[in-house]
Symmetry: C2
């Protein structure tokens, strides 16, 4: 697989000139070019050219060492000459396998998820898999629809950012018989494999940190459901254990941007009983809180300590720098990818579960 850069003069097409204003004569009708699509070349064409049987071509492509060197060479040449590429549908239909690994993210716009998916993709693509990402959008309907199509598609494996909550969907996935990777939490009974961390522990750790820094009246800001609820639960436990007063819980249903965080802090500070510190279980919300604090002339950390969750590059850089509890999402992706590959290679991984440590990135907000 050599760089295309060398294969041709690498004509860069960027030009940025637009001629919409002058459409001119329509270039040979709409459907015409559609027909001009190159005739499909099949494995048979390659076989004929290399003077071998189609099945031998198939073998040469998938287990080169099972074919004698001379035929292999002939076949490779024929492939190059014809530009043949395997038809994954036919292959998947016959063999029941495919080289596609499907990932599902509840939200494509999350920095954290994107980072995990990116590193996971790198691992799997290096192993020859095609890594594709779909979206479930925090909606059970979409999730079910996606999983149903998945059931028939039989990808090689499935990577999820998050865990499947609906038992019926869990059952659906279990039935497919391919490696499934869940992440970002530690459910009691994972579908198959899991690389995650404890969200309740994150909450407890947050309470701990706030206590150690001397805060005694705190507030919680986060999502109402899912992992947010887990972190809240842990936070409550932690507060109780340390004797910290949990002044208020500001819960949101969905996070669409930093403005949600602004609203939360405004709401928190509008209460009669003001907290001396805040645990934001979501980095975007934390960012919004930081900004709103500045606007309200609430000094961080002098007037209000803020502890975030996640790994946001940006939050860390904004003065005074957000202190966060989180996980290394790139590491999570890599670990997940490695475990998937182990599972795909036939030898099931020694460990189907991996618990990641929580990491604290110190900023100046506490």
């Amino acid at each position: 697989m050599q760089s295309a850069r060398e294969e041709d003069g690498s004509t860069v097409v960027y030009d940025d000139v637009l001629r919409i204003a002058d459409p001119g004569p329509p270039k040979q009708g709409h459907g015409a070019e559609r027909e001009a699509a190159a005739k499909r070349i099949s494995i048979g064409d390659v076989a004929r050219l290399a003077d071998v049987a189609p099945i031998t071509v198939s073998r040469a492509l998938r287990n080169p060492q099972k074919v004698s060197p001379d035929k292999r060479a002939r076949i490779e040449q024929a492939v190059a000459q014809t530009g043949y590429s395997i038809n994954p549908h036919a292959s998947a239909l016959k063999s029941g396998r495919s080289n596609v690994v499907l990932a599902f993210a509840s939200n494509l716009m999350s920095e954290q998820f994107a980072s995990a998916l990116k590193s996971c993709a790198a691992v799997l693509e290096d192993a020859g898999y095609l890594f594709l990402v779909g979206q479930t959008s925090y909606s059970y309907e979409r999730e079910t629809a996606a999983l149903r199509s998945l059931h028939a598609m039989k990808p090689a494996a499935v990577m999820l950012t998050g865990v499947i909550e609906l038992e019926s969907n869990r059952e659906l996935l279990r039935g497919i018989g391919i490696p499934i990777m869940e992440t970002w939490a530690l459910p009691r009974d994972p579908i198959d494999m899991l690389v995650g961390f404890s969200n309740t522990e994150a909450g407890r750790l947050a309470a701990d940190m706030l206590f150690r820094k001397g805060y005694r009246k705190v507030a919680y800001v986060g999502r109402r459901s899912g992992r947010g609820a887990l972190r809240l639960q842990g936070f409550r436990e932690g507060c109780q254990a340390k004797g910290i007063t949990l002044v208020c819980e500001e819960l949101v249903d969905d996070v669409t941007g930093v403005s949600d965080g602004r609203r939360c802090l405004a709401s928190v500070m509008a209460r009669p009983a003001k907290p001396d510190a805040l645990f934001c279980s979501n980095d975007v919300l934390a960012l919004g809180c930081m900004m709103e604090a500045r606007r309200l002339n609430v000094r961080v950390p002098a007037d209000l300590g803020i502890l975030g969750f996640g790994q946001s590059d940006i939050a860390a850089e904004i003065p005074p720098g957000l202190t966060m509890i989180g996980v290394d999402s790139a590491l999570l992706g890599r670990e997940a990818g490695a475990m998937l590959i182990a599972s795909l290679s036939g030898t099931p991984p020694a460990q189907k579960l991996k618990r990641l440590d929580l990491v604290v990135s110190e900023g100046g907000s506490l």
Copy 2:
């Protein structure tokens, strides 16, 4: 398609309890559950149950109005009863079509791209397509590999965040004969369809804005290649036209985070000839510049005006608020999705090109 929420009691599995420490006896061997995968049900099973021919089931699923109501009802019931779902590989193999729309992003972690993909996905998923995102990582090799597999996969359509630069790859795509959507620029000769904007114009507009605000000695910060180069080109033209001095051009090869922006500003401010304003052709870089400016006690906009490119929510919120030139990426995604659907529905869209206007979001940084 009804909500799964109603179908069962919606058992929430979140628990966050981990028992890695106590693996216990391995649960019935590794491969055992693999075999337990449900026997595949095919269209023939449904047909038998509904007492019709397989082909009629196929029709009922794809063109319900071509099947009489009574058979349709029987078939629908049989489908529900068996939990049948179509095998997309067999379907794609035979028909040469599929309901998958493949999107390729050069970078999954870009807020802009994610936003465009998200809105594009929404449009296409509503129309019944499965929207999957792959990654090309700004690498020609990856791009070529991805496109090659694409060639055989025959998705229904392809959505690209960006345009294809290599002529050989453009040819490859052209040959597939499916709708192709390019975005984010206005190349001279798009492969098929295009929803984009002029990057050179963005550069000229930037020079214009800086001039109007009274700046006369400016600097450029951005990526060296691709669209960054186009914006720089336009910026140079604009500066020349207005008689603005372009003090320096700070170019980076790749943007990995805000720290790149910090470095850029530091480097710019270290020069003997300091600019009075900055055009950052990338929102992450702009963010980094804003932060570094604060650290260096460079007041924005009093000491240095900063003009960004993009639509970053966060940059807009950071005091004094970044003024940006950009496009509405969600709109771009929607438009692209709509045009793809028009093309997919057989009737080619009236217009295969759509030029988006640049929008200026006023912040306080100029």
